[in-house]
Amino acid sequence: MFDFDKTFDVIVIGGGHAGCEAALIAAKRGAKTLLITQSLDTIAQMSCNPSIGGIAKGQIVREIDALGGAMGKITDIAAVHYHMLNTGKGEAVWSPRVQCDKKIYQFAYKHFLENQKNLHILQDEATQILTKNGAVDAVVTLRQTKYKTKAVVLCSGTFLKGTIHVGKLMLGGGRYNDNAANFLSTSLKDLGLKMGRLKTGTPMRINGKTVDFSKFTPQPSDNPYTPMSVFNLPVKKDFLQCYIGRTTDKTAEVLAEHAKESALYSGNINSIGPRYCPSIEDKAVKFPQNRHHPLFLEPEGLHTEEYYIQGFSTSMPEYVQYLLLRSVEGLENAQIVRPGYAVEYDYVDPTCLYPSLEVKTVSGLFFAGQINGTTGYEEAGGQGLIAGLNAALKGVLMPATRSLARNPSS
């Protein structure tokens, strides 16, 4: 084992939406911060849809923005389509939603982090959290390096013992084709934390060149638009369009006929999902009276023809995914470029946390994002910001931690 010769104030494990905000705010607060991520090329990766904001989520991004986070600013850099939701209602419930170019988003975020003072980014995998006298002491990595630290923010997303399901096919992985983190869970269990399994999922991506868009209702960007970050002014942009469609009776038939082949109902997955992300087979079982579910085609970026089909999240076998596509008007000839899949992962019972997101039983250990059983980029970013801020306070500044009330606006 190699003992790194410098002690960090804060180590952030995981470079997703929670980890990026955590690392950035900790470093901004003056904490000597290390961000450990399995892959530099997937920093701030949008694993699911290419969109930031939406009802309630847009409000979270604005709050992150106001508290010094980066999500709103990066969103404006990567934006390809703006839409203010709920403008028919009172302003308190207006919600900004922005489609982003995935690649621009992640590289812009990476560049942002690289320019942050006090922040060291490292490609490695954290495998163990060491404690001394009930407090965090060090993080050990797969390459057997030991980094001493005063605080740790763990943002493991879907990667702790992640398992990918496509029908009966099961693969290890936190995201399709990205390695799972198979060691850290054991370290958390050794700390006496109560763990469980959750599942979430994502729809198939298709080649836009094989879609008959004439069968869909186009949704152009707001223009002029309201930027996501209140610190930005609108600039001239190249916009892309989104498209609105619906499932059909035929879709419902396919789902009914092949229900048992879904990883969800075949017995391969026993865990439940965060309820905001139901799969199409879930919807068919729980709401059989709704036969025509809305679908929303979102472009994945400026330099790709890939489209994300919101509302079509599934863990059906690939051939059933084709049957589902063929049941939808305009998608009869659509080619799948990446299949939809479900992912199962370890999370920790969030009642083990203080409102500051610090683990009650381990001083200096903070959790943010899906490890707490939540879902959503924005929710992860918000938690990352709070956890990162508190970790920095713990690490360098003062012992008091901060938390936000559950309903600060009411």
């Binding site: 419930v93 905001y276 579910h293």
Partner: protein, 441 residues
């Protein structure tokens, strides 16, 4: 708050009697029982056991053990029925404390029952009321809330309001117009129905308070009209000093009386006369006026033997203005031969007409229903909360077109009712939204 993890003990019975019941609640209950008796216990089975103090026998006791969560507090509970000797009582308590229990604070068993979800606050209030109940009607009201009848009505209110809130909130989120618009008429009717129900419950408060706290009945009239004699006759014993001297009663005199299952507090007041210069008597007269204002019923005692009624009439007019419920009686029927047929003719001396007066008192308060099945509110805080909630609900019905404002009024109504129906969290609303509507990306 006290430490919930302690095992607590206290006598459930008061001093005196042949049997004393000691109660234990908490994790150590079974261990303590086992060490006291060297015996094993089956839950919910009364068991005769010898209680040991070291190697010596302390007593033979009947012990019932209740295993968590099927007990009053929701924890492990034991009830030990002992012989109520002073040494036995103090020694068993010492033994329990030595084995790790601590003395329970007042109300701590019920507090644990509440915190463990065995009863809600209304039921807990019912426990308090049932112990304190002094008469049949108060007991009935307390039993109703203890039995959860009041709670069931609140549960219905809670469910109806939470459902409507979910219907409203899911539409705030429905940005794509997927949902049918809020059924305005239906929603409005549902909300107004709950508002009316809240008001109806609130309306029971005045009689509820009367049942719980007792009904104040003031006796008033000119000096020497026979008020004190009437008080004594109604009570059945001589509470007030009676003399033929005008102005004998100088201060108000109170005495409790149970009448047809209701608690009354009879208040004898100083008689009114203009001509007095006595300072104490003047103060007494002022207190009479106060007593009349505070009384739930005022009985104006007229003196049939009076020749000049002008002063009596004048005072009657004043009392009529200030009294909430006025009953007029014509006293001293024994003294004169007389033909009057209207009104309550009584004789405080012979008791003539007093049964009619008693009936009139009950009739005046319209309390007939309360002694029956009616569910009533007995706490002022609950009364205020119900009225405030009704107001918010009515505001909500006026904002059905502005969903976010409507939701805010509904949340305020729920907040007002929090003590009665329990807190409705955003989690409760989300549970309904996600179970009833196909929401999510």
């Amino acid at each position: 708050m006290y430490n919930m993890h302690d095992t607590i003990t206290a006598f459930a019975t008061s001093n005196g009697g042949a049997v004393a019941v000691l109660r234990l609640s908490g994790m150590l209950t079974y261990t303590i029982l086992n060490k006291l008796t060297k015996k094993e216990f089956t839950p919910r089975q009364a068991t005769l056991a010898t209680i040991y103090d070291g190697d010596n026998i302390l007593d033979k006791a009947l012990i019932t053990y209740f295993k968590a969560p099927k007990s009053y507090t929701g924890e492990d509970v034991a009830e030990i029925s002992l012989h109520a000797g002073p040494y036995i009582k103090s020694r068993i308590l010492e033994l329990c404390l030595a084995l790790g229990a601590r003395n329970a604070r007042a109300g701590e068993f019920s507090q644990r029952a509440f915190l463990n979800g065995k009863m809600d606050l209304v039921e807990a209030q019912g426990v308090l009321d049932i112990i304190a109940a002094k008469n049949k009607a108060a007991h009935k009201a307390a039993v109703n809330s203890l039995e959860g009848r009041l709670s069931n009505r609140f549960k219905q209110i809670r469910q109806n309001l939470t459902d409507v809130l979910a219907q409203v909130e899911v539409r705030i989120d429905d940005t794509d117009g997927e949902m049918q618009p809020l059924p305005e008429k239906e929603t409005k009717n549902a909300l107004l129905k709950v508002a009316q129900e809240a008001k109806n419950l609130a309306d029971t408060f005045s009689s509820g308070r009367l049942v719980k706290e007792g009904i104040k009945v003031a006796l008033c009239g000119l000096t020497n009209a026979g008020k004190s004699s009437l008080l004594n006759k109604l009570l059945g014993y001589n509470r007030a000093i009676v003399s033929s001297q005008a102005g004998t009663t100088r201060d108000t005199v109170e005495a409790p009386l149970s009448l047809l299952g209701f608690d009354l507090v009879l208040v004898d007041t100083a008689g009114i006369r203009k001509t007095t210069a006595d300072e104490a008597e003047i103060e007494g007269i002022n207190r009479s006026r106060q007593a009349i204002e505070q009384a739930d019923i005022t009985i104006f005692v007229r003196d049939l033997t009076l020749q000049d009624k002008s002063e009596e009439n004048k005072f009657f007019d004043e009392v009529k203005q200030n009294a909430k419920n006025l009953i007029t009686v014509f006293n001293k029927a024994d003294k004169i031969d007389f033909k009057k047929k209207n009104g309550l003719i009584i004789s405080a001396k012979t008791g003539q007409g007093l049964k009619n007066l008693e009936k009139e008192i009950i009739k005046t308060l319209n309390l007939g229903d309360i002694s029956g099945q009616e569910i009533i509110i007995t706490s002022a805080a609950h009364y205020k909360a119900l009225l405030a909630a009704a107001l918010e609900l009515e505001s909500a019905t006026e904002k059905l077109a502005d969903l976010e404002l409507c939701a805010e009024h509904l949340r305020k109504a729920l907040k007002e009712l929090k003590e009665l129906i329990g807190e409705v969290t955003s989690e409760d609303v989300l549970d309904i939204i996600f179970s009833k509507f196909c929401v999510g990306k």
